[in-house]
Structures are given as structure tokens and as C-alpha cells.
Symmetry: C2
Subunit: 494 residues, 2 copies
């Protein structure tokens, strides 16, 4: 498994190629032999596990419980919610048979035509339909509400153009599905979850966000409102990183989920759903990494600290081992994830390049002189700055440094984001500049016609109407010249 450490394309030369190469060279994921489906490798999956654990704890703190619903959905379920079927029927994997048999010519196996399903089954693209079909059996009274369920699972959407993590036919995600007795409670839950996502992504992934509400055009199929977190990649394009939907009573009505309310009247249950996926991995990679490889936030790095001795021969190695194994253990006692790499089959220069590529936040190197002097070299991955310090007290220094890196990469990305949000109310200026990236905060008349024209002209879309922005006097729509109803973030996106 020779790692090709060199020849990583530079971001400035080809940002897209840089990303594709980095995902593979850093051993995060690779294409499989099934079109559009990826293999998530151990190093990539270790980051995903940290994302899962952190989110799962946050979900549970809000009363959410995990469940598991079947992966296969009867075709007819999809048709029950009119908007939903339009959004999801187009791109789904269809199971039509349940058996193979040996080919009569001995060439292998073929589908057994006798094992045809009466009704075809769809591999879930999302699970609102199957879950609400079950909620009908669970929900009868206001006492049964709220129902707050989440599942971690795989889903499938047959994408034509795929990219590792960003858009794959199969991906991993969590999907939360809640049912409530009142509209107010459901709306509050949908907003609570987008805030939860934002808190996680900003504080753990160190990715600054714009949080807001989607336009009707960009809403989830079947939602009354879709809330979104939008991140900005280093090329200025938007990456939708998570969404939370207020579904009204659409699924309650489609699947006849009725309950007796406190006034003893029948009503349909109110719904939300919300999800983030392995797409977050793409956001993580693209936000922080550089021409040397990954830059990982310490809070999610599988290896937070790597320790490398520079020695010659077994005798010297033993001296280093004694000192540095103890240091590694001491750091582990503080809850840090530490790798001590004394392998003798790779040169130090190779190791350094490899750990840079993998984005290990802190590297400690000890050479012969350090061993004599009681010093050690500390390098931080985000800035590549090195300094030689006393080994005495190194544990506190490493802890402080990790916290500082976490903060620094967020600040760097936040500065970049803020510098690339452009208020703009002139369409010619917009058209001239939008292809270079950035979030354009523009007066918008709220119509789908205007959105369509902008998309046709520039490929840019309304990303969201941000929560935390001044929406007084939105001005005049830059396309139609009509009074704007809000200021929206418009940008190209992944």
C-alpha cells in the first residue's frame, strides 16, 4: 500500500482535482466497483465515528431515542405524499426479484424469473414514508406524543454524477423523525435541530456557517419549511451541510396518523425530519485542508498527537522508547489520542509527510540532541510552525496547543467566510462576480421566476434566507426590479 505522498495538485491550480486526490491519498475513501458507491477506509471511518458519537450524544440530550426501520420501502408508500414522490421517485434503486439461480449454460448466476415480487421495493432514499406508516400504529392520543426517533443508516439515491463524500449513490447518515401534538411544538423542534447541527459543526468541526431557511424551490419534497446550514468552501462555493424540515401535517395526513388531543378532538400529528450525512466529511476536508494535505480539527482527529523519534540502531531506539512511551501514556491519561511511531522501516521524512497529509494536529519529534538536552520539537499542523521546547511540562503545552488549533482553524475559516459575503443589489455586478465564488446577500422578490432566471444565467441558487441578518428594508429585487421581500444568500454550490 505505497502512499503517493507527492504530486498532490495545488488548490490554486485545480481545487476540484486537489479535493479528489486528497480524499484518496489521505486514505479516507475510494471508489468501489459499484458505480457511485464508495468504500470508506479506516482513517475516514474513524473521523465519521467521532462525528457520530458527538452528534448522538447531543440528540439524546434533547430526548431523542435511536431506532431502526427497514431499508426497503414498498413502491406504493412513495406515492402517498404528492410532493415527496416527485422529489424521490426519480432516482431510486428498485428491488424486483428475490432469488438468483444458476445459468443453464453454466456461465454464472441469473435472476430467477419465478422470483418476481408482487410489488417492487425501493431502497430507502429517506424514510419519512415507512416511518409515518408505522407511527400510525404508535400514535393514538396526545399522551403518546411527542415521538422523537432517530436512526443511523445507509440510504440510496441514484446520482448520475458522483464525488467521494459530496455526492454518492449510497451514503451514510442519520435521519431524525419526530411527531408532535401541535404545530408550534413541531416548528420549535425543527429549529432546535438546525441550531444543534450548527453548534456541532461550528464547535467540533470548526466550520463557520450561515444558518437560515430555504426558498420554496429548494425545500425538501414534502416540507413546509426547510432550515439549512450552509458552509463556504475555499473556492467560495456553498456546501449545504445539514437540513431540518418542518413537515406540517403532510405525512400525518398521507399516512392517516390521527390522535385524540387534550380537548378530546381528533387531529393529525405534526412532523419534523432532519439529517446530516457523510457529506459532512467533504465539508471538513474542503474547509480546512491545504496543499500539504488534510488539516483536521483536534476535536475530531483520530490521532491528535503523533510522536516520532529520530534514532540510529536498536540501542538508541531503546533509549527513545523508554522516554517517549512514557510521554505517550502520560498524554493518553489526559484523554488524548496519541500515536507513538518508532517504526524502523520508514524514514523520518516519509513519516513527517505522511502525518502532514493525514492532518494530525500536533507532531512531536525527538532527536539525539533533544534526548540529551531534555527538549522536544513541537509542530502544529495548521500553521506548520515548529519550536523546540523543554519536555518538562509538555503535556500542558500540547493540551493548550490543541485547543488553540481548534480555535485557530475556526477563526481562519470564519474570517474567510466573512470576507466573502458580499451585499449586492446590482444584477450585472452579481453576474460578473458570482462565478469567482462567495455568498451574495441580495434583495429578492421571493418568486420562483427570479430564482430560475438567476440559475439559468449563472448556475447560482438561493442558498437560504439567513436567520441572523438584517432583514429590514430589503430593497429592490436585483433581477425583477420589484420590491424585495427579504435579503437572501445566493451562491454557486456543491
Amino acid at each position: 500500500m505505497a502512499i503517493e505522498l507527492k504530486n498532490l495538485t495545488k488548490r490554486a491550480d485545480n481545487y476540484s482535482a486537489w479535493y479528489n486526490e486528497l480524499v484518496v491519498k489521505a486514505d479516507l475513501a475510494e471508489q468501489s466497483d459499484v458505480r457511485g458507491c464508495m468504500v470508506i477506509k479506516p482513517y475516514g471511518y474513524a473521523i465519521w465515528e467521532k462525528i457520530q458519537q458527538s452528534l448522538d450524544r447531543r440528540f439524546k440530550e434533547t430526548g431523542v431515542q435511536n431506532v431502526y426501520f427497514p431499508m426497503l420501502i414498498p413502491k406504493s408508500f412513495l406515492s402517498k405524499e404528492a410532493d415527496h414522490v416527485e422529489g424521490f421517485a426519480k432516482e431510486c434503486a428498485v428491488v424486483t426479484h428475490y432469488r438468483l439461480k444458476n445459468a443453464s449454460d453454466g456461465s454464472g448466476v441469473v435472476v430467477d424469473p419465478e422470483a418476481k415480487l408482487e410489488e417492487e421495493l425501493i431502497i430507502r432514499p429517506t424514510s419519512e414514508t415507512t416511518i409515518w406508516n408505522t407511527y400510525r400504529k404508535w400514535i393514538h392520543s396526545w399522551r403518546d406524543l411527542p415521538v422523537l426517533c432517530n436512526q443511523w443508516c445507509n440510504v440510496m439515491r441514484w446520482e448520475m454524477r458522483t464525488r467521494l463524500f459530496l455526492r454518492t449513490s449510497e451514503f451514510l447518515w442519520q435521519e431524525g423523525h419526530t411527531a408532535h401534538a401541535t404545530r408550534e411544538e413541531a416548528e420549535a423542534r425543527a429549529k432546535q435541530m438546525i441550531r444543534l447541527y450548527a453548534d456541532f459543526v461550528e464547535n467540533e468541526m470548526a466550520i463557520p456557517l450561515v444558518v437560515g431557511v430555504k426558498s420554496e424551490t429548494e425545500r425538501f419534497a414534502g416540507a413546509l419549511d426547510t432550515y439549512t446550514i450552509e458552509a463556504m468552501m475555499q473556492d467560495g462555493k456553498a456546501l449545504q451541510s445539514g437540513t431540518s424540515h418542518f413537515l406540517g401535517q403532510n405525512f400525518g395526513k398521507a399516512f392517516d396518523v390521527q390522535f385524540v388531543d387534550k380537548e378530546n378532538k381528533l387531529d393529525f400529528a405534526w412532523a419534523t425530519s432532519w439529517g446530516v450525512s457523510t457529506r459532512l466529511m467533504g465539508a471538513l476536508i474542503m474547509t480546512h485542508s491545504d496543499d500539504n494535505g488534510l488539516v483536521l480539527p483536534p476535536n475530531l482527529a483520530p490521532i491528535q498527537v503523533v510522536i516520532v523519534p529520530i534514532y540510529k540502531g536498536d540501542d538508541e531506539r531503546t533509549a527513545f522508547d523508554e522516554k517517549l512511551q512514557a510521554l505517550a501514556d502520560s498524554l493518553r491519561c489526559r484523554g488524548l489520542s496519541v500515536k507513538y511511531d518508532n517504526a524502523d522501516n520508514k524514514r523520518p521524512g516519509f513519516k513527517f509527510a505522511d502525518y502532514e497529509l493525514k492532518g494530525v494536529p500536533v507532531r512531536l519529534v525527538m532527536g539525539r540532541r533533544d534526548l540529551q538536552n531534555g527538549t522536544i520539537e513541537v509542530m502544529r499542523r495548521d500553521t506548520l510552525e515548529k519550536e523546540t521546547v523543554a519536555i518538562q511540562g509538555i503535556e500542558e503545552r500540547v493540551e493548550t496547543l490543541l485547543a488553540d488549533i481548534q480555535k485557530n482553524i475556526f477563526t481562519k475559516a470564519k474570517t474567510f467566510l466573512d470576507a466573502h459575503i458580499f451585499p449586492c443589489d446590482n444584477y450585472d455586478e452579481f453576474k460578473a462576480r458570482v462565478k469567482d465564488g462567495g455568498f451574495f446577500l441580495c434583495p429578492w422578490d421571493g418568486t420562483a421566476e427570479t430564482e430560475a432566471k438567476i440559475k439559468d444565467d449563472t448556475q447560482a441558487t438561493v442558498r437560504c434566507i439567513p436567520f441572523d441578518s438584517d432583514q429590514s428594508n430589503p430593497g429592490i429585487d436585483m433581477v425583477s426590479g420589484k420590491p424585495a421581500v427579504c435579503r437572501a444568500i445566493i451562491a454557486r454550490s456543491y
Copy 2:
């Protein structure tokens, strides 16, 4: 969601009905509207999560890393390993199309005939084929070995007769797949993992086991050896609870995974695979539970301690709340999972029956007199014994009691298992007794013919040749009258 607490069938009346009802009434799982696929409900999933966490930690301690491979497998992959295709092609879900479209008559959606796949895709029944197809790209030198990967995922086998947890078309599991440079190392890993499973199942699930090796007939399709852990249910039937396979070079050869060994010669990689599934939930339920409901081992119980006050009116409730919230927090500080149930919309009697049904190991009840006297009633779920004790020092008592329950339910099950292992070398006696349950330790000539005859006559199968049994002088095969090659456990099974 009214809970039907009464009318749980008694084990003695109908063990099978008792199980089916208990799974549903204890809110563990239910049938979905997709044939053979289940919904795992929050309480059931919480137990599964504890199983996952405990196993995952153990895997990682042995160097295993988690990964994710695609769910869909090209049909042709299945054919590459001759035995494997025989074992798995018969019962798999086949994806043939990737799009639906609106029916021309407006009746819903239909499969779009233009979206037919060139090669059909199979939903993984197990992932040896797709993983070894990828290992070819990862493994080139002995330095790349061992590869120790595991994934937690869903799999699908089209079962005709299904039962919640025990046999479902879709189930959740983990599948470990390792590649090694030598036969010895692979065999040692396969054995290491069955011992790991046994340690987990006996110590965390409190289920005693017989550990051994499968007969050739019962081996995994493509394996040279299959190791198994066999548990005994209360009806004396065996439940295969986990398996670990030594696959030799079968998959290395089928997928051309060659590496350069230390002597610079090309060789095929050696393989193992090993898995446990949501079937373990069935073993857990059936081993310990009784006519009142679930009995859960404290190590896996989502709620280890429930505290119930018996009060009248809000004033009295406040007095209890003050005392018992503090007790709950004090127990939580010791790492216990505690529920304080002061809900006023359910009577104490209902709560007691519900927590018995759910198998909560320890119940603490405080009434008015207890509040005055500084006492509390302690009930243990396994024996249903109650005693009233001083609240002073209750935390230590609860901790000791939980440890005692964990040990007691194991001992009880172990006593049952040991009492139902019957050495037997007379076929008439065997035939007369085997339908009543139990593991029969019988001299066996090692032939498939004998196995087939036993199965035809009695439905019993060779469960395993146990590791920890006296195999000297195995005697005379009870069916064929030929010299036996070993003593095997023969039993009916789930």
C-alpha cells in the same frame, strides 16, 4: 400506545408464542409492512447499542478498525467463489432498475423500463466478495498485512419463515474481515474472535455457551472451518449466536489477492470473517426472561434502576421528589442508568407491572411510611424478592445487588445448560428424547450421511464439536455403528 400488560402467554403453555408476544409487549420490536423486515423500537435498540459498544471496544483492543463497504454487490462477484454462490445466491434481494416514473394512468409510480441496469446488483447477504475485490487493491506486500477491518451494517437474506430478531430478511450485524500473510495467523485470528464473542456473551449477556467447531455440512459457504458459539434456550433448543470462519485462501484466490511474502515469493492472502447480529437479542430474551416479562442482565439493561414514589397529591409528591431526585443523582454519579418515575397519570401497580415486563433489574419503591422511617423497598427483577432497607447506604447495596443479579442469572442459565447436556450413545434413546430439548453429546463418525439421517429422523443437527470436552475414546457412532471420530453436540435448533 396502551401497553397490554396482561395475557402474556406462559412459557410452559407455548414457549414460541411467549417469545413472540414478549418481544412486542416489551416494546423491543415489531413486524413492519415489508415481509420479514422488522422495526426495532427505542427500548430494543437501546439494548442493541449497548451490545454494539461493548463489542466494538473489544474489537478495537485487538487492532480491528471500522470501515464501510457498499451495500450493493455486482451479481458476477457472487459467482467467483464456487461454494459461496451456492450458499447465498438462493435468497437475495436483486436490484434491477434505478428509476420509477409516473404511471400513465395516474395510478401512482411504476418501474421505468428504460432504467434497467446492465448488470443486476444484489443487496449484500454478507460482504466477503465485495471486500476481497477491494483488498486486491490494498494488499501487495507482506508489509500491508494483516488487514483487520470490521463494519456495522444491515444485510439482507430473503427468508421464507421469519421471527423477530431470530430470523428476519433484513438484520443488523457486524462483519469482520481480516487478511493475513500466513495460514497460522489467520487460523489464530478466527479462534481469537470466537473466544472474544464467547467472553462477551458470557460476561455481558450472562448467557453460558458451548464453543466449538462446526461440521463440514454446517460450515459457512466458502470456509475451511467455522467456529461457533451455541447457546441453549429455556426449551432446550440451540441458538447459534455467533460464528467465526477460517476461509483459507478461497477468497484470496477467487479475487486474485496476491502479495509478496518475506521470501520475495508471491502468495495468496489468507482470510477470516466473523459476525454476530441482532439475533443476539433473541438469545438474550429467550435465555433469561420469565412469565412476567423480560429479565435483563444489568450490564446491558438500558435502565438499571427505577425509582417509584407512592404519593397522594402535589404536596406529598414534592417531599418525595426532593429525596428521590437526590438518590437518583447519587446513583447516576456511580455510573448507573436510573429512571425516576413520579408520573401522576399511571397507578403504581401499572408501573410495577410495566417495569417487570421491561426487565429493569432493580426497582426501588418509597411509600409514605418509608419516607418517615428513612427506608426504601428494594426489589430484584431476577428473583422478584423484595426487602425494605435503610435508605442510608442504599447506593452500595444497589451496586452490589446489580453485580449479584448479573452473576445469578448467568449461574441459573449455566446450571440449566449443564443439566441439559446429555452424553448419549444409543440412537433409540436419542430419538426418543431429542424432541424434548437438550444438547446430546454423541459419538459421531464424522460423515455427512450420518448427519443427514439424524436430521431426517429428528430435525436435530450437529451443532458443533465442542472445544472444551473430552475427545479421547469417542466410541462408536450411534447411527452407523462405525468408529466415531469425535463426540459432537447434536440438538434441535432455532
